[in-house]
Assembly symmetry: C2
Homo-oligomer: 335 residues x 2
DNA sequence: CTCCTTTGTGTAATCGATTACATTTTAAAA
DNA sequence: TTTTAAAATGTAATCGATTACACAAAGGAG
């Protein structure tokens, strides 16, 4: 049926070992012989059986990513597309492929499952909380992995993160620059590294300005950083507190904040400047367009993938923090 | 090192065949024996080696999706996240996994590659043009596949599509309903089924209204249905033609159209109602919020996955067309 | 021309599961 | 109790690659 290495060997009039050496570019093959083999491969349209290779070499050429079963939660990561794309581009160029699984409802930890079955050689995990047990599982099972973000209380690990602290500073400083004095900060969920670092940035910016920061101005979303929550928290805050600018830890939430402000009769930008975080495509499309901290999501994916591949190849690797930048748009423009 | 079926057999004091029978729920195992085996599996924390199973059974439990190497093109499909999620949820529940590859720059057709290597048992392909050669490749190589969309000139195949014709009708009819007489239609790229069907819907709505439709009012995007193109085409049309409403074949493009209209001093909704297509999250977040045709993208992914799995199991399957609905928002509200 | 090294090639074991077939045990029927 | 069928289990071949090891060919040194 399907053509196998034996068939190629027969056609090229060599042994299977030689064919294998050609396929895997091992060297020690006479150029003439190599040519014969390559011709046979082309002629027979041969593709090496991946399972056989995996079984023998104990490697799958797959890199795993596990996503949430909960769609609403999942789409509150609007940058997922770029992230996936970044990883996939790098992996495909290196002859790896990306394997996506969903956390199943039934108990078994899908992280362990794909890893231990040998479906993947390594994993990239994101949306990781402080003390996240998944990291311990992965460590215990010995599979190489790269973490997106910088959770604490999980020991050592290799990560790729963006410079959330600088991002928090940039955003806050910019709001000061356009004249704000009391900045409401709608932050992500507690227990996430990004939440912590962005708060640090927010605080540092206050220090730099010599302004005492008011804890009460910092709000945390319960779980999903989505539009609804941004809207709700902003409305609530409008009713209960005094502020003259908003830093929102996520563009999706920021659109909710914009809606709440405009609804209240205030003008975003003129009355209440708003800065978001992420710079997803959406940010430039809302009205007013959103000033935000641009995260190099595509690069995060690419970097994570290449670090992981290097780990698999036994190279020494280091965690990386990618820098962010402020993109100024209409939402912080004073009319 | 890693524990294998032999170790389980030894621990449970049975043969490997019995263990295998338990794992694969073959029956013909005494309940008592089964219990021993299950205990051994748990005790040793055993996971069957996936490559070995694949090699032996000639199946990989992987379903492939190939995405574009070009990020800009790729993110002009803003519904990709939901689509992937839908597929992944279904697949993971059935113990399959999703394999994502990127079309590499070097020549080899990645569709064939993953299929012929046996990395996947089936494929789901999207963004398919009329006469798309990929369909012929897949057919020739014999791998089961499901197409998202309904391209022509490619012979028979199983597909999942949304009812784009009805969508086109709904959108156009709604514009008539709010009083439009000359509707600019910014359609997707030529050579795509969705483009064709939506045009049919647009034409039918005209017929229903007894209005002669003007070919010149139908514009096609060159390649990417993105914001920039929506903006450019709208601007161009404002300068050169007469129209009082716009139907845009894609929400991303529609945001560009909105921007162009507002920029010209006209009011979206009041002066120029606009209807989009897709109902991506963005649609409800722009200002004015976008009336659009909702596509059940998540269901498309789920349906495609389950059809494909049924194909793999030898069941008889049928193509499906999922229905769409109109979501009315501010962009067609006459102030 | 012999010896030694290097290069090129082949043989066969191996990876860890599944499963056809053989065999044993158990249950039912006579 | 014997016979027969059904149920439970075991043995070993198999999937298709990689690769250790053996060996042959070729080239270089003396």
């Amino acid at each position: 049926m399907t053509v196998k290495i034996k068939d190629v060997a027969k056609t090229a009039n060599v042994s299977v070992a030689t064919v294998s050496r050609v396929i895997n570019a091992f060297g020690n093959v006479k150029p003439e012989t190599e040519k014969k083999v390559l011709e046979a491969i082309k002629e027979l349209n041969y593709f090496p059986n991946h399972s056989a290779k995996s079984l023998r070499t104990n490697s799958s050429d797959g890199i795993g990513v596990v996503i949430s079963h909960d769609l609403d939660y999942f789409i509150s990561f609007p940058y997922f597309v770029e992230f996936i794309h970044g990883m996939s581009v790098v992996l495909s160029d290196l002859n790896y492929h990306l394997v996506i699984s969903t956390a199943k409802k039934n108990g078994i930890n899908p992280y362990l499952e794909v890893a231990k079955k040998g479906i993947v050689d390594g994993m990239i995990i994101f949306d990781v909380k402080d003390g996240d047990e998944r990291i311990f599982s992965l460590k215990k099972c010995g599979i190489p992995f790269v973490v997106i973000g910088r959770p604490k209380d999980v020991g050592d690990y290799i990560f790729v993160d963006t410079d959330n602290e600088s991002g928090g500073m940039l955003a806050t400083q910019h709001l000061f620059d356009v004249g704000c004095k009391k900045i409401l900060f709608i932050n992500g969920p507690k227990g996430h590294a990004a939440t912590r670092f962005r708060l640090n940035g927010y605080i540092k910016a206050h220090k730099n300005m010599g302004i005492r920061y008011d804890e009460k101005l910092v709000k945390y979303v319960e779980k999903n950083s989505d539009r609804e929550n941004g809207y709700a928290i902003t409305r609530e805050s409008l009713a209960s507190m005094d502020f003259d600018g908003i830093f929102v830890s996520g563009d999706l939430m920021a659109t909710g904040a914009i809606a709440a402000i405009e609804e209240s009769g205030l003008k975003v930008g003129k009355d209440i400047p708003i800065v978001g975080f992420d710079d997803v495509p959406l940010a430039s499309m809302v009205n007013p367009s959103l000033t935000t901290v641009k995260q190099p999501i595509h690069d995060v994916g690419k970097t994570a993938a290449s670090i992981l591949i290097n780990m698999l190849n036994g190279k020494k690797v280091e965690s990386q923090i990618l820098s962010v930048s402020l993109v100024k748009r209409a939402s912080t423009f004073r009319k």
